[in-house]
Symmetry: C2
Subunit: 201 residues, 2 copies
DNA sequence: GTCTATATCCAGATAGAC
DNA sequence: GTCTATCTGGATATAGAC
């Protein structure tokens, strides 16, 4: 394949994805029709469907991009000195998503979609897996610093990571739909939890 | 209004709601068409629309019913002796929802819908409010038992309740879409968190 | 590669007989 | 109150000219 063709294709896909993201942020996934994306991108229906087979594929691509970017925020944290507090790490993650998506409603809608679209569930599932690994290596370092042995720190990190992810998800969800949600108060409460408290028995 | 009419109306609404719940559990909210509900209920389109103005109203009614029922599971816990462990309380809640809905996918879809339907957001928001109160009175008792003064226990309970709710939401969400989600491991990790650890400063 | 125009489908909701 | 039949709108996706 000629190089220009590939470049062009990649550029077009980016252009379409960017337009789609703007639409999704504005009106949600189901609220956005292909016609909206076509108008926003300045291209035509035919052009869009040449690059993405259907709406689901486009959604999966856009969502995957955003999540991969947020995952990158958490890379390398365990090498920092001083090691940031767990709440700081979680705050970075949730506020990163919030600001990139202009709120959290879109993220919640992604979950709803993933609950019935296997294609999207795959993308989300993969990301949750990555997120677990990223949090796990951070928490391993945190527990070591708190005085646990390497082995104990690793085990404890692996154990609590799903709950840490859950706490972040709860933040995002409540931020989207809970009445009078107070982000600072939520994070302050997380700080009350002593993740390193009693060592796993 | 004649009494029979009211009874009849209530009965019909129940019948329709029950049929709708079966459909929703089977195929999700968006996957269920009004035609599905009509067929499942054994009634006709006209009959349905006489009792519910539209699909959203029907969804909101069904969802509200389910949630109110699960809230009832948490009532009066703070008077029990011995007081159950927090994890036990949370387990009751999440497993209650899971078994009533035949899984958690439906709950996640509700959130996604609520993120863009104000009518439904209201129902969910109200329930989250109730849930906070229920958990708050339980945790107040728990903290008092742990040795805090009434005032400190109340303050601490109010502070952490949003996170407790978040942890439950994380469970439900991951149960629906996370790869290799292990419910028991999640709850075991919650048990590692010492909610009563350091008193709020 | 891209556009316009449109096929095709299926949803939610309603009208009017009974 | 309930049914049957149908309207209407809007969505995705495609066909075919350029």
């Amino acid at each position: 394949m000629p190089k220009v063709s590939d470049d062009h294709r990649a550029e077009r896909r980016r252009q379409i994805a960017a337009a789609a993201l703007r639409c999704f942020a504005r009106k949600g996934f189901e609220g956005t029709s292909m016609a909206d994306i076509i108008a926003e991108s300045g291209l035509s229906a035919g052009a869009i469907y040449l690059h993405y087979a259907n709406k689901h594929e486009l959604i999966a691509h856009v969502v995957g991009d955003v999540l991969r970017g947020r995952g990158r925020d958490l890379e390398g944290l365990s090498e920092l000195d001083p090691l940031p507090h767990p709440v700081q790490v979680m705050r970075t993650f949730v506020t990163g998503i919030t600001s990139e998506l202009g709120g959290t409603a879109m993220m919640v809608q992604v979950w709803g979609l993933a609950a019935r679209e296997p294609e999207l569930a795959l993308v989300i599932g993969e990301f949750i897996g990555d997120l677990r690994s990223l949090y796990a290596s951070y928490f391993r370092a945190w527990f070591v610093q708190a005085g646990l042995t390497d082995a104990a720190a690793g085990a404890r990190a692996d154990a609590i990571v799903p709950v840490v992810v859950g706490i972040c998800q709860g933040y995002l969800l409540q931020s989207a739909i809970a009445p009078a949600f107070d982000a600072e108060q939520y994070l302050a409460a997380v700080e009350l939890l002593d993740f390193a408290a009693a060592p796993a028995s």
